[in-house]
């Protein structure tokens, strides 16, 4: 029944409010863009089927709230993530500076097995604004940061003009998949919340 066994990749998008996380996801999944700002409340995902080489995988893309007041419930959904996407706005310095915080927060909360090799991807969004004239974070600076963090792939995107969005998510999927297959080999499916859990032998045998 191998044909039925689909791979599910969990991807988390993080970044300051207003950098374009929701817009990037909507552009990628629905091919739509809206110039209106509607704050994301809480966290939620969209799914998208992607072909990575010869495999068809399902990406579960989690969009999160950048505004702190709308992250009340904590970050339990980080659990089991296969890739983390960090987004900043190339026109706003602070959003770039905060990447460190978002990355640290993710590593602490998701506690992946090997923090050094856990796949991140960085997106510098809104490169279209003012034809790049109002940009304050240079590509070089961003790449330096990515290199310093162990060679994180970097993309310059525009959710508005659909620049680099597909290739960025292609890369995200590929890295997530690499992580997923690596993890699968030695991570047991642990459900330890409650003693009355469904018998282990039957519930965790995939």
């Amino acid at each position: 029944m191998a044909s039925r066994k689909r791979t599910l990749l969990k991807v988390i998008i993080l970044g300051d409010s207003g950098v374009g996380k929701t817009s990037l996801m909507n552009q990628y999944v629905n091919k739509k863009f809206s110039s209106q700002y509607k704050a994301t409340i809480g966290a939620d995902f969209l799914t998208k089927e992607v072909q990575v080489d010869d495999r068809l995988v399902t990406m579960q893309i989690w969009d999160t709230a950048g505004q702190e007041r709308f992250q009340s419930l904590g970050v339990a959904f980080y659990r089991g993530a296969d890739c983390c996407v960090l987004v900043y706005d190339v026109n706003v310095q602070k959003t770039f500076e905060n990447l460190d915080n978002w990355r640290d927060e993710f590593l602490i909360q998701a506690s992946p097995n090997d923090p050094d090799t856990f796949p991140f991807v960085v997106l510098g969004n809104k490169v279209d604004v003012d034809e790049g004239r109002s940009r304050v974070v240079t590509e070089k600076k961003a790449k330096q940061w990515c290199t310093a963090k162990g060679g994180i792939p970097y993309f310059e995107t525009s959710a508005k003009d659909d620049v680099n969005v597909d290739s960025a998510f292609q890369c995200i999927a590929r890295n997530a998949l690499k992580n997923e297959t690596e993890e699968e080999q030695y991570i047991p499916d642990t459900v330890d919340m409650n003693a009355q859990a469904v018998p282990k032998g039957r519930s965790s045998c995939c």
Partner: protein, 790 residues
Amino acid sequence: MKRALDDDNLREALRYSAAMLGELRTSLLTPQKYFELYMQAFDELRHLEACAAYFAEEHNKGRSYADLYELVQHAGNVLPRLYLLCTVGSCFIRAKEAHAKDILRDLVEMCKGVQHPTRGLFLRSYLCQVSRGLLPDTGSEYEGEGGRISDALEFLLLNFTEMNKLWVRMQHQGSPKDRERREKERQQLADLVGKNLTYMSQLEGLDVRLYQDVVQPRMMEQVVSCRDDIAQQYLMQCVIQGFPDECHLRTLPALLAALPELQAGVRVHLVLASLLDRLARYAATDASVVAALDSCDAFGQLLGAAGKVAAQHAEMAGGDVAAMFIALAQFAAAVYPGQLGLVDRVLVACHEALGERGGTADRTRAEKQLIALLALPLARPDAVAVLGLSAYPRVMALLAPTSRKEMAAKIVATLLEGDTEVGEPAQVEKLFDFIAPLIADIPGADAGQDEEDFEEEQGAVARLIHRLRSPLPGRHFAVLKAARARLGGGGARRLRFVLPPIAFQALGLVRQLAEGGAGRGPSSSAAAVEDGEDAPTAEAVLQFVHGVAVQLAEAGDKPEVALQLFLAGAQSASEVARLELIAYEFFEQAFLLYEEAIPDSAAERTALASIVGALQRCTVFPPEPRAALVHKATGYSAKLLRKPDQCRAVLACSRLFWQATPEPSPPQDVGGAAPQPPVRDGERVLVCLKRALKTAHAAQQQLAAALRGANTAPASLFVEILNHYLFYFDQGMPGITPSVLQNLLELVANEMATEPCQADAALVAFHANTLKHLAALKAKGGPRYDAIQL
């Protein structure tokens, strides 16, 4: 479970799922822990969904979901059953075997079966999550027979309403002593409720009209009627942040109308600030937005709403009231940077709102906020424009005296920082309204202030007075008169700081008038006529200075300062305006003050030195009046108490009889008297010098008699006298012959040879320098020096 699915044993799978979901029935977990458990269940249910889809594809095409939907209704417990129903229901819709609107209505109703708040909230959150993308949204594949946008909205609005009720009810469950913990847990659950709004705002079919007609009224109804602090605080933020700007612009009246209706515990100022922040950012994107804001008088609406909130919530803390107006002032500054009138309206409204409350409980916080509000317009590049804010002093008056004074000091500091000039009498009046606490005593304002603080503060005011100026002499004079009228009432201890700068500014004006040709220069008079302000005469300005100096003298606080003013006035009258009578009057006043007010001999000595110095430089007086003045000055010198003082004073007086030749200056028509020729009266000089020698000898004997031989003061006097002789000798005064000088040189040399003098290093140096000076004069001097032996 996954294996069961692989075996196509769906029944089995459902049974395990139900067992697993049974864990969600726990009541022991905090919301965040429960969320973790939920996430695990959620992941499992994804698999169930996937396998159910497979099952449906492979078997019983057409009937599969209806059967499944039936099947899961038999799960024993309500919570697992509803999770399964939601899961299968979503598959049902996706397979288009049922109309989305029907299934959704069914599910959202059935979920009422769970009334435990945490469980119910998570269940409904799950329902939303699985139905995302399956709603009959405009343009969606489930639209049409599956329903319309209105059905999608109805589903989400219902779910939102139910969730909010569960969330609010939580507040009233359990014992009151757990309130803090419960509120914390409620805060954590907030996003589950709020997320409904995100789902709504992301619907394609939601346009501004639908928002205005359906969504906003329903949301606001729920928010207002739930009467719960936490829910209202959070949901107002959700509404403001979660829906686009256009929506708020269109529905501003309704949104604002809700604000005064909120519970007393809601921090409305934060809600308003959040809205204002959004609107300001929106306005920055396009000029048309500002036009749209204007066309509905958004600013007026916002201001009115703030006023209403304050009026209806008497219990609202003063600090929070002020915070609303700060947000409004910031909004005005961001959206209408040039329009200070709007800031004034904010201040008026703030004054009204706060004025009514009188004493506020949170005094210090309210004060802080008010100070922040008042500081806003000061941050503008043209800080002086703040003087145009008519309500500003009124708002300042709400502050406690000490803070009011601090604020005034801040205004002064800000105006001093820039290159502000205040050049209108009316503006000057306003300025002094603004800094009123600095220019007169107000009860309670000086608590804890020491003399040093006071001096610093008044020093700043004095520096500010130098900024009161206009290039038009007539206006400048009017400004100074206005300043004096206000500052003159500040009490004796302020006058010595604030009156001198006014007087010195006026003296500057005298110079300007003189240089412009008796104040009637063509340029200034033309401009002045236009303004209906004639340039004053130098005489009028000097009379003004005289009045200022007299006031300072009468205040009696620092007579030395008043004396200096009289002398500066005399000098200006004499040398700049060439008005003999006024100059004389100034000297008279100086003498009067000297006689009556100078407190001690040290002060007398310096005062007299100043008088003599000033008199010496004046050239306006004809011989007779001058003689009278000189006579007085010499008379005072003789009356000084200590011999050394007498000696030095008489030495200084000698110069009164030997005026310097004036520097050749371009002839000026100042309309006054021509300078008198310099006085050169060698005889009178000699009389003074001899008197000085005599006095020095007398001082020496006095000391010897008092057995204080080690004092070198008399010797020092001799060296000083020698210097004067040297000066007049060099000037070629006939009465001083080489032999007179030679004798004096020897006398001084003898004095210096004594032991105490040799021990006085400063004196030895003074003497040596004097001799060096003489040597230099001799080197370039004429034959008169030949006879001098060094």
